[in-house]
């Protein structure tokens, strides 16, 4: 685990952040639930994965030149057949710097954000919020210092203004709180293990349903190169 992490951090240092497939690998190794996925080098590989996993699938651009995927329409959900997936593959593979196309199983649920940052006064802290694309609009977040204790989790969940979303708002299925708690505690441990090597982490969205809490996308921003202390 540590060796794999060091390798990934080393190869990501140049661009300053860790590509999504590598993030998923790191988080999965830390025990977090991630979607089944494949970094496909060809449309045929993407289709083979989708057929084994089941449609619809999600396809995402993977390029060290693209930090914000949505800005290049780099995330496409609901791809229902080989034709749609192949067409999307061709477009995403043509994006500048592409190193492949990430194909993922479709997970549905309440969209949350789970993140971390290295705070000057308090060290590593973990953020939980109502997430997805509206995260900065609603600003409905709670923050705890890592490591989180098991007892911190219920207080964090209850600290969200939108907590009713978790309880099955308007007939939706309530989210699996145990799975979400396990994800938060696992993430807190992962963050602590990174020490001061990261600046911030977004797991956004984390998708929560009655069974799972899944990190559906993640990005790790690395701390500025060792030796040059950041302000």
């Amino acid at each position: 685990m540590q060796e794999m992490r060091d390798d990934i951090f080393e190869k990501s240092a140049a661009q300053g952040w860790v590509l999504e497939p590598d993030c998923l690998q790191l988080l999965a190794a830390a025990g977090l639930d991630v979607p089944r996925h494949r970094l496909a080098a060809s449309a045929a590989e993407a289709v083979a994965f989708a057929e084994a996993t089941g449609y619809p699938v999600v396809a995402k651009v993977v390029s060290p030149l693209v930090v914000h995927k949505t800005e290049v329409r780099g995330v496409v959900t609901g791809l229902g057949d080989a034709g749609a997936l192949t067409r999307t593959f061709e477009r995403l593979a043509a994006v500048e710097g592409s190193v492949g196309v990430l194909v993922e199983e479709t997970v549905t649920g309440v969209e949350l954000i789970v993140g971390a940052k290295h705070d000057e006064q308090f060290g590593p802290v973990v953020l939980l919020g109502i997430g997805g694309t509206g995260v900065e609009l609603y600003k409905d977040t709670v923050i705890g210092m890592a490591p989180l204790a098991a007892a911190d989790v219920p207080a964090m969940l209850d600290g969200l203004r939108g907590r009713r979303l978790l309880d099955g708002f308007r007939g939706a299925e309530p989210v699996n709180r145990e799975a979400l708690a396990a994800l938060l505690l696992g993430f807190s441990g992962f963050v602590l293990g990174l020490g001061d090597r990261f600046e911030s982490i977004d797991c956004n969205p984390v998708l929560c349903n009655g069974h799972r809490a899944v990190v559906a996308d993640a990005r790790i921003m690395l701390a500025a190169t060792t030796g040059t202390k950041q302000k």
């Binding site: 940052k117 705070d119 705890g144 921003m221």
Partner: protein
Amino acid sequence: MDIASLLHPKKMAVIGVSRSNDLHPANVIFVKNQLRYPVQVFPVNPKGGELLGERIYRSVGEIEGPVDLALVAVRAEQVEAVLEDCIAAGVGGAVVISGGFAESGEAGLQERIVRRARQANFPFIGPNCLGIYSPGLLDTFFLPSERMVRPEAGNVALVSQSGGFLVDMLVKFAEEGVGLRLGVSIGNKALIRETDFLRHLAEDPATAVIAFYVEGFGSGEGREFVLAARDCGKPVVILKAGTTPGGSRAVASHTASLAGDYAVFSGVMAQHGVVEARDEYEFIAFCEALSCYHGAPSGGLRLGIVSGSGGHGALAVDACSRQGLEVPVFDETTRAAIRARLSPSIQGIAGLGNPIDLTGSALEEDFVAAVEAMGALDGIDALLVLLLPYLPGISADLSARLSRLARRIGKPLFAYVPHIEKFRMLMEGFELNNVPVSSSIDGAVRMARAIARCRPCRK
């Protein structure tokens, strides 16, 4: 670093007194301690001479016997040498009130004195501070005695980065009848910081509440502080200045953008059971409430409210709803049981749904009966009495009676009494019997909220 000798000195040197300027900070401090406090004070100035008939010592080393505390009020550039003298003379520690250090660009000078003090294991408070006000023991504030408003001695310890805020709080504490154990202004907190006081006060049997005004923590200092606060076993109250998000620089991640300095501060305080006040009103209310009750009985806080005015009851419920406190409505059986205990004259007109409105016709015994009945309910954790002193049916003894009753019941009681000088005895009947009382309805509800927010504490 041991700060005990700073807080309970027997001998104090006041370094930097002037022979000609009575208003020099050192002179003010010398005089007030000489006249009003048990600490033995010695004026120091290298030029020697006399001050008000007392010998001025040329250096701290000339003073006989162990000096526990040196009050340093010399120009910034002389502080280094003065501290060197203190270290050589075996002084216990210092309060450096002099300004002219990190706050005005002289970070290097400040760093030098810190390094030297640390090396010599010599604790000092400041620089750029007022230092220590300890009722009945010591006062290093350079404000003339007649200008100060002094709260009574009590169990709340206040540690403030700002001297001005601390002085203001002493005034408010005196007004609100909150007792003070210790007030310390730590200024630039170059060496002795919040966490040092937190650890010391956690072990001080006379301190029940530890309250802080902070402007910011240094690198990693916040983590150390909250961990100490979590483990200290006493209620910790904090007010932070600078909570508005500053000019946000472009950040590459949502987390970095959402978890601004203040959001992190606030979240982490709550996580560790530190009661964060959002403004000075909350700060005072929280200190007062927690000085009487040390944390919630368990989990939430369901309030039973009684008043002699429907309007006051309704406003209190609104305040509870704004502040997230529950006011459960009583069922028919409960109402009937309470009604049966009231005077016949109000049985037909009193509102009993919670809040209980005893109406302006209520008698003293009706308040007692209502508090007793609500106090016995399992679904009620704390009681709020809104007392209008103008009601013809109540006496000036009511507040003391209700206070005793609440202690017997064993549930926290909070009170609202308008601050009117001629009804002062009603207020004091609560205050002096350990029931927090506020002059506003919102204030009384705020005090209840402090209890709800504080994690349960050791006695």
